[in-house]
């Protein structure tokens, strides 16, 4: 029952918000606080290994089921925490963006939908909340209602709709393959039809992959995340794409982590390759961006690659190793923290200077010293500097990758090498961001509006504190949260030694991270000096151009077909007319000549009942002739 209440509370909040006239109360803040408190009080028991399940007893094919185990509670807590901190920030920011009420309504509705996805106990309920989330968060993306926002909104909506449809088809195939739809959190169900089961898993991966920004389905992400108002971007990048990651983890669970898939289809290597591609594409595109928010958005793509890679590696080991998955869950949490902090920090700069272009900023640390410090903490977090949370999850992931590389698979060896390259790229692009915005030469043309930034910086301080706590006590998360989550996902306890025994402070790991950092900064310096970051990739390299070509080609082909059909139709019609009039001429000449030659202009629109009868009789004769 509590699970249903948790998803309904934000809806009630939205109702109150809709009807209230008082603008001074921050309803999203109160609602997310209530959700956090209720979740802490009521859902703590799941970490002891007792999942909570609740069914709404409806008749018919749809019995909405809610289910909470350790994994879903981690995500629920993360979501409500992020909503809480962003709600501190949003009112001040939205004063300048306008239409704050619409934004807050969408914030509350999206919170409800997101909690619903995390607490869903069957695939239909999950899809229901997944689709609702698409619709409600769409209003964040098109908040500005200008040309760019609407374009980004189309991208977002169409990709998400396709994702939803793919998941729906996945559910259909799953139902066919297993007879009874497996519940979420119930683990592996032996399929009756292995190939169909594998297809269903593949469709789920594609569907959730679209939400997670998996290459090549990531096209919508940079547009949508950069155009929405900054609090919206923080939540989109911080949490909404994590819904995709959550879905992928649940899909892995459905597939039994590849242990028992008898069809010989291996998802592990495929997913790992997709993950590494996502990392590379994201980071490469991020290096070339000049717009601060787009840079961050491309980094969301790249960091989601880490998560997908982690899941892929656990699948690669057929569930015999939990390092990859632990890294994925860990990185999900960490990325949510530092990416929303980064968006919020850049948001302050955008709000006060009205400038999104990094090359027009510079030397801003003098005007915004505390913001600069907080952004620096988040930057260090995302680059994986020791002492911050990014280091912890990246270390776990790196251990997983090198373990995979030790299996002597050439694919995995390459993945390990590329993993390090992406680390360097990440450092380089964030060095670029920080250098261009806060260090460097001050831009004298930049107009800076005065304002009170205290309320805007509070959430960043909170986020930085959490990041530092995780950074200095990396083992805490693993022991308290990751182990119960893995247990609820059905891994055997003897695997947990792999993660509980990780020493985060070995010389090798630290050294590796420092080398990455130094190489990254050096690369950044090189790139800024040589103008490498201004390189515009040729148009044919972008997938959008390719898709456009295909679409235009398709459109032309279709209109050609349309013309062809029209011309044939006209020809057919004309010959029919000719046939009909000659028949009429014939019959009139047989009868008597009325000296009226109008029969040639008989048209179908003047056809009457008798023709119908004639045709009927002809057909009757035809039928009877057959016997």
């Amino acid at each position: 029952m509590l699970l249903v209440i948790l998803t309904i509370i934000p809806l009630i909040g939205a109702l109150i918000l809709y009807f209230t006239k008082d603008k001074s109360i921050n309803i999203p803040l109160i609602i997310s606080a209530v959700v956090i408190i209720l979740a802490c009080l009521g859902l703590g028991s799941v970490f002891k290994g007792v999942p909570i399940t609740y069914k709404i007893p409806l008749s018919g094919p749809f019995v909405p089921t809610f289910h909470a185990d350790a994994l879903s509670v981690i995500f629920v807590m993360l979501a409500s925490f992020l909503w809480f901190v962003v709600s501190i920030y949003a009112p001040e920011y939205m004063k300048h963006e306008g239409r704050a009420k619409t934004f807050e309504l969408c914030t509350l509705l999206t919170l409800s939908a997101v909690l619903g996805v995390f607490l869903a106990g069957d695939l239909f309920t999950m899809l229901l909340f997944f689709e609702l989330m698409t619709i409600t968060s769409y209003f964040w993306v098109i908040h500005k209602w200008n040309e760019e926002a609407i374009r980004a909104g189309y991208f977002y909506l169409f990709f998400s709709i396709i994702g939803g449809l793919l998941i729906a088809l996945g559910i259909v195939l799953m139902g066919e393959a297993t007879d009874v739809l497996p519940a979420i959190g119930a683990g592996f169900v032996t399929p009756l039809n292995s190939p169909m089961f594998a297809w269903s898993i593949a469709l789920f991966v594609a569907g959730f992959g679209i939400k997670a920004g998996m290459v090549p389905l990531h096209l919508w992400l940079p547009h949508a995340h950069s155009v929405s108002p900054t609090p919206g971007s923080a939540l989109l990048s911080g949490l909404l794409i994590k819904v995709g990651a959550y879905g992928l983890i649940r899909v892995g669970e459905l597939a039994g982590w590849g242990m028992k898939l008898s069809s010989g289809i291996k998802f592990g290597p495929g997913l790992a390759v997709l993950g590494i591609c996502t990392m590379l594409v994201g980071v490469a595109a991020a290096l070339l961006q000049s717009d601060a928010k787009r840079l961050l958005a491309y980094h969301s793509v790249s960091q989601m690659g880490y998560i997908i890679l982690g899941i892929g590696i656990t699948l690669y080991f057929n569930g015999e190793s939990v390092l990859g998955l632990t890294g994925a869950i860990y990185h999900t949490v960490n990325h949510a923290l530092f990416k929303s902090a980064l968006f919020l920090g850049i948001g302050i700069i955008i709000l006060r200077t009205g400038e999104q272009n990094l090359y027009k900023m510079g030397g801003l640390w003098r005007k915004f010293p505390l913001t600069a410090l907080l952004v620096l903490i988040a930057v260090l977090g995302i680059t994986g500097a020791p002492g911050l949370n990014g280091y912890a999850s990246k270390t776990v992931l790196h251990h997983a990758v090198s373990e995979a590389a030790h299996t002597n698979s050439s694919l995995m060896i390459w993945i390990e090498r590329l993993f390090l390259v992406v680390g360097v790229g990440t450092t380089a692009s964030f060095a670029k961001l920080f250098y261009l915005a806060f260090l460097g030469k001050p831009n004298s043309k930049l107009k800076i509006n005065k304002g009170n930034n205290r309320l805007l910086m509070t959430p960043m301080i909170v986020l930085s504190l959490v990041m530092l706590i995780i950074g200095f006590m990396p083992q805490l998360f693993i022991d308290k949260l990751a182990v119960p989550a893995l247990k609820s996902l059905g891994f055997s306890t003897n695997l947990f030694g792999q993660i509980t025994d990780i020493d985060f402070w070995t010389a090798a790991d630290l050294q590796g991270m420092f080398i990455t950092l130094i190489l990254g900064i050096a690369f950044c310096g090189l790139g800024l000096k040589t103008g490498l970051f201004h390189w515009k990739p040729p148009i044919w390299l972008s997938i959008e151009a390719l898709a456009k070509t295909v679409l235009v080609g398709f459109n032309q082909a279709v209109s050609f077909c349309g013309h062809a059909v029209q011309i044939t139709g006209r020809w057919f019609k004309q010959s029919l007319y000719r046939f009909y009039s000659s028949l009429m001429m014939l019959s009139t000449s047989l009868d008597y000549n009325t000296n009226n030659n109008k029969t040639t202009s008989v048209s179908f629109s003047n056809l009457n009942f008798s023709t119908g009868i004639i045709i009927t009789i002809l057909f009757l004769v035809f039928i009877f002739y057959l016997f």
Partner: protein, 484 residues
């Protein structure tokens, strides 16, 4: 319950229509009262029959004209059609009170509106192929005056086309009907056992099936013989909404369902090996119909082509010959009708209140008519097949039926159609909300309330069924159990 209730169901509409015709031209108010009472009464009569009909023990009444037997008795499929039609007739009646307020020829409109109701009830309740055919034919003539309502050249032309297509189709049905009657020895009564079960694979049986499908396919707007439907959009919006999105076209779909499941039966159909071909025609109609819809600029024409596409969803489900496919077909009959009527109602409100009929010129309409466009948006999401709407369930079961029969490419057709549907409707809604936000009172006043209320009620009902499909589930289950 005696069989008289069946007679009452049909006679209510006829007598209501006669009374409406006798009411003097100026007395609009009385005519509306009569219309509302008639439609409500019919709906009540139909709803009263639901429990018995779903159990298969519905009241029955039968007799014969010469050697030709007739029989009225709703079975689960019939009662579902009757419930959809009669309920939507009430809703549309309320809407048309608002829409037709300043229109000419009101007496003509309401008279034939009620006659059509009676005839549609006849189609739904008849348990006999011959009677079904008679009512099906009558429907053409009672709806013709509604199509040519405005009496201008365009509508007369559309009316001609409608009559031509329908009569040629009827000819095909008659031919097939006579052949069937000869084969079965004059027994045309529907029962749980299909009529032609004992006949088996007779030579020529394929032609009978094709003749039936062409005949009923005219009204179901299957693709090569669909062109009367977009033309018929010249009719007033309530007519387009009710007749050309639901009842007339559903009578064709219903006829095909009857032919496939009551006349031939799924076993014989399976033996005939025509399933793939029929599925291909249905998928062609689904994809091409909705694709043409995206190219239309006039909103009502866009909706018309979209109707053509969606009707073939139902046929696709029927042609899979799978229990799940039939489940999807029946669910789609129920859910699609609600959403499509909503869409047409919205189009009517937009045209009446702002004068815009073209999608490209609807910029800013959403701010003038926020509730209307919200309803339109909800219905659009339903057409894509997104979850909080009832059409998700029909689409789900249609896909399930396709894959269960080993015909998974047709599930992909439905996915593709969903995407094209999104292309078709999402930009319409987004465009409507662009531009300056202008406060207007276009949604106030008695007229608009009469039009808006049914629209919102239907959209809400669609959401409700989407969240709780169990509401309609017993009916759907009864149909599937009846035929399988």
């Amino acid at each position: 319950m005696s069989g008289n209730i069946l007679i009452f169901t049909i006679l209510t509409g006829i007598s209501g229509g006669i009374i409406t015709a006798l009411i003097p031209k100026k007395a609009d108010k009385q005519r509306k009262v009569v219309t509302l009472i008639t439609t409500l009464l019919t709906a009540v009569f139909v709803w009263l029959q639901i429990p018995s009909a779903l159990q298969g023990s519905a009241p029955v009444i039968y007799g014969s004209i010469g050697t030709m037997h007739w029989r009225l008795q709703p079975d689960p499929l019939g009662i579902i059609f009757a419930v959809i039609a009669s309920t939507l007739w009430v809703v549309t009646a309320v809407y048309s009170f608002g829409y037709m307020k300043h229109s000419e020829y009101q007496r003509n409109f309401y008279t034939f509106y009620l006659f059509s109701l009676a005839v549609t009830m006849g189609i739904a309740l008849s348990a006999n192929l011959f009677l079904l055919y008679v009512f099906y034919e009558l429907l053409t003539f009672t709806t013709y005056p509604l199509v040519i309502h405005y009496r201008n050249e365009e509508s007369l032309k559309a009316g001609n086309r409608y009559i031509l297509y329908s009569l040629v189709g009827a000819g095909f049905i008659l031919a097939a009907l006579v052949t069937t009657a000869i084969w079965t020895g004059g027994n045309l009564n529907f029962s749980t056992v299909p009529l032609l079960t004992n006949i088996g694979k007779k030579p020529g049986i394929v032609f009978v099936l094709i003749a039936f499908i062409i005949g009923f396919g005219v009204k179901a707007a299957v693709m090569p013989i669909h062109r009367w439907l977009p033309a018929a959009m010249v009719a007033p919006t309530p007519v387009s909404a009710l007749l050309h999105a639901v009842s007339v076209v559903y009578s064709g779909v219903y006829g095909i369902l009857r032919v496939v499941y009551s006349v031939f039966g799924h076993e014989l159909m399976g033996q005939l090996n025509l399933s793939n071909g029929l599925l291909l025609i249905a998928s062609f109609t689904i994809l091409v119909g909705v694709f043409i819809a995206t190219k239309q600029d006039v909103l009502k024409r866009r909706l018309a082509y979209h109707t053509i596409s969606q009707l073939s969803y139902i046929l696709l489900g029927a042609f899979t010959l799978q229990p799940w496919g039939l489940t999807g077909a029946i669910l789609h009959m129920i859910s699609y009708s609600m959403l499509k009527v909503t869409l047409f109602f919205c189009a009517g409100i937009i045209a009446e209140q702002t004068g815009e009929t073209k999608v490209s010129r609807m910029t800013g309409v959403g701010w003038a008519l926020p509730k209307t466009m919200t309803a339109f948006g909800i219905a659009s999401l339903g057409m894509i097949g997104m979850l909080p709407l009832n059409t998700f369930w029909s689409k789900y079961y249609l896909m399930k039926g396709s894959t269960a029969g080993g015909k998974w490419p047709f599930a992909l057709v439905l996915i593709g159609s969903g995407i094209i549907n999104a292309v078709c409707f999402i930009p319409t809604v987004v465009t409507a909300f662009r531009g300056e936000k202008v406060r207007s009172n276009a949604e106030q006043g008695g007229n608009v309330t009469l039009m808006l209320a049914p629209t919102l009620v239907l959209a809400t009902a669609a959401l409700f069924i989407g969240l709780w499909p169990g509401v309609v589930w017993p009916g759907v289950e009864a149909v599937v159990n009846w035929f399988f």
